[in-house]
Amino acid sequence: MGAEAYLFLAEWHGKKVVLKKRLPKKYRIPALDEQIRAYRTVHESQLMHEAKKAGVPTPTIFFVDVKNSTIVMEFVEGRQLKQLLKDVSEDDRWQLCHKIGELIGKLHRYGIVHGDLTTSNMIQAPDGKIFFVDFGLSEKTMELEARGVDLHLMKRALQSTHFQYAEKCFNAIIEGYKSVLGIDEVKNVLDKIREIERRGRYIAERRSE
């Protein structure tokens, strides 16, 4: 369970659902707290819906309660990629990461950046479909900068949770991304990632150039 919102399993009109509720944070002043929670609740619901249009499976939204900053959404049964990647063979891992790359490519092609791409935010359903969840930090944008940051964060997330095979996973993701967006777009975004890393704070990458 993450820190930002609480997820509850519940039943809603006979359906098994997830309630995602953003609770007030005591450390934030109410004015800022309410602003952040309301914004993220509305925004997340909208973008989860938009992502579907882009061809990326996301839990279906049933109801949005802005006043209580709660989203009622479909419960997706399946396994988190965070665990799955640790349990599968190298080939399967490559396939999974390729698929993740395709999905990120579809999101970006449609003008959405996820904003928090980690393997904890991806669930594989029993039919093999990979669902993206937690669009709380997503944005609608076509900017190369935003796409670069999105993929850069994915890379960072892999390095912190799957550092033994982070590089292979990221390469597979880029391959998948390329199969959707084409080689030119990939070249641009990879250049962008390098530029982001070069801004000074990611010197290991800088030195390897």
Partner: protein, 340 residues
């Protein structure tokens, strides 16, 4: 291994990454015998690296002498010399490194290059008794959320552009805030913020686990120049927005790692409002809140000396030819065999 007359080993640490030149002396059992800090105060504006380095060179012998005097030991008692090898400002780092190399060669003792950010974490652990914390390190030059995992400290979140302390400092200067003698700019912002109560919305930029403060700074300066808001309210809003960002990321790192301690350190750690916010998430996650005493939270030589002890006693020494400074040395590049 050379030891002092009591059988105890001593490490002298030189810190000079930015505006402070500091020398600390630590025993191998973790006692800090001296921690002398001499800060460079620019006549106006921010830190000019070359002028700060000039200051360091001028005060070095005096600071070293005072450290020995406070510690009550002689140079020949030293077992090892540690220095801050990076990250930091080039001219400042080079001055400290030169001092350390000279001392080590003269005394024929080994040299250990220490990562400045790791030193902040290690002295924090030593002084608060924290064992395995999530660390929020916020200063004028760094904004990092880190925790130990698999042999190294890993960065969970950090700034994508300027540091939090830098954001506060530059705003204070742009807004013409006046420091009282010895008062850092961050403390001036804190003083004004205390009398603010109207929240002015400013850009809140958390991207994944990383943060950005440059847009926030620009927006705050613009709001100031419009002249529609009280300076107190702007300081209040700037603090609330910036601190909420670092605290959000820290909380997420706590939730992710499930560690049982949170350590707040760096120059900005002195801010009472930030302490209150970090304490709040610590309580919510049943985590011990540890805040580092001010003289060990700011840049200081003691932390370099202590981290030098940890490294040296685990077989790490830095040969002279590898003692070049590393301006952008990231913490996850460093193995920390002393942490289990």
């Amino acid at each position: 291994m050379k030891h002092g007359k009591t059988g105890e080993g001593y490490c002298l640490g030189v810190e000079s990454t930015a505006d402070d030149f500091s020398v600390g002396i630590a025993t191998f059992s973790g006692e800090i015998l001296a921690n002398v800090i001499d800060a460079y105060v620019p006549p106006e504006g921010g830190i000019h690296p070359r002028e700060a380095a000039q200051h360091h060179a001028e005060v070095a012998d005096k600071v070293i002498e005072e450290a020995f005097k406070t510690a009550g030991i002689k140079p020949k008692d030293l077992t090892v010399i540690a220095f801050s090898q990076g990250p930091g400002l080039g001219p400042c780092l080079r001055t400290g490194a030169t001092v350390a190399r000279a001392l080590a060669s003269y005394l024929h003792v080994p040299l250990v290059g220490v990562n400045h950010c790791i030193a902040h974490i290690e002295i924090g652990k030593l002084k608060t008794g924290a064992v395995d914390p999530v660390t929020l390190y916020v200063s004028g030059g760094n904004t990092i959320v880190a925790a130990f995992d698999a042999g190294r400290y890993r960065v969970f979140g950090e700034t994508l552009d300027i540091a939090l302390g830098n954001c506060l400092d530059v705003f204070a200067r742009e807004a013409g805030l006046k420091q009282r003698p010895g008062e850092p700019f961050g403390a001036v912002v804190e003083r004004f913020a205390k009398n603010g109560n109207v929240f002015v919305p400013l850009p809140y930029a958390v991207k994944g686990m990383d943060m950005s403060f440059s847009g926030l700074l620009t927006a705050a300066i613009k709001a100031f120049k419009k002249g529609e808001y009280r300076l107190e309210d702007l300081c209040y809003s700037l603090q609330e927005t910036a601190f909420s960002m670092v605290v959000e990321v820290t909380e997420r790192a706590l939730a992710h790692t499930e560690k049982k301690e949170v350590l707040l350190t760096g120059g900005v750690a002195a801010n009472k409002r930030l302490q209150e916010m970090v304490r709040s998430i610590a309580e919510e996650h049943n985590t011990r809140f540890c805040t580092v005493p001010s003289e060990y939270a700011v840049d200081n030589g003691a932390m370099i000396a202590w981290t030098g002890v940890l490294a040296f006693t685990h077989g790490i020494i830095t040969p002279l030819e590898e003692s070049f400074v590393r301006l952008r040395w990231r913490i996850e590049e460093v193995e920390v065999p002393w942490v289990k």
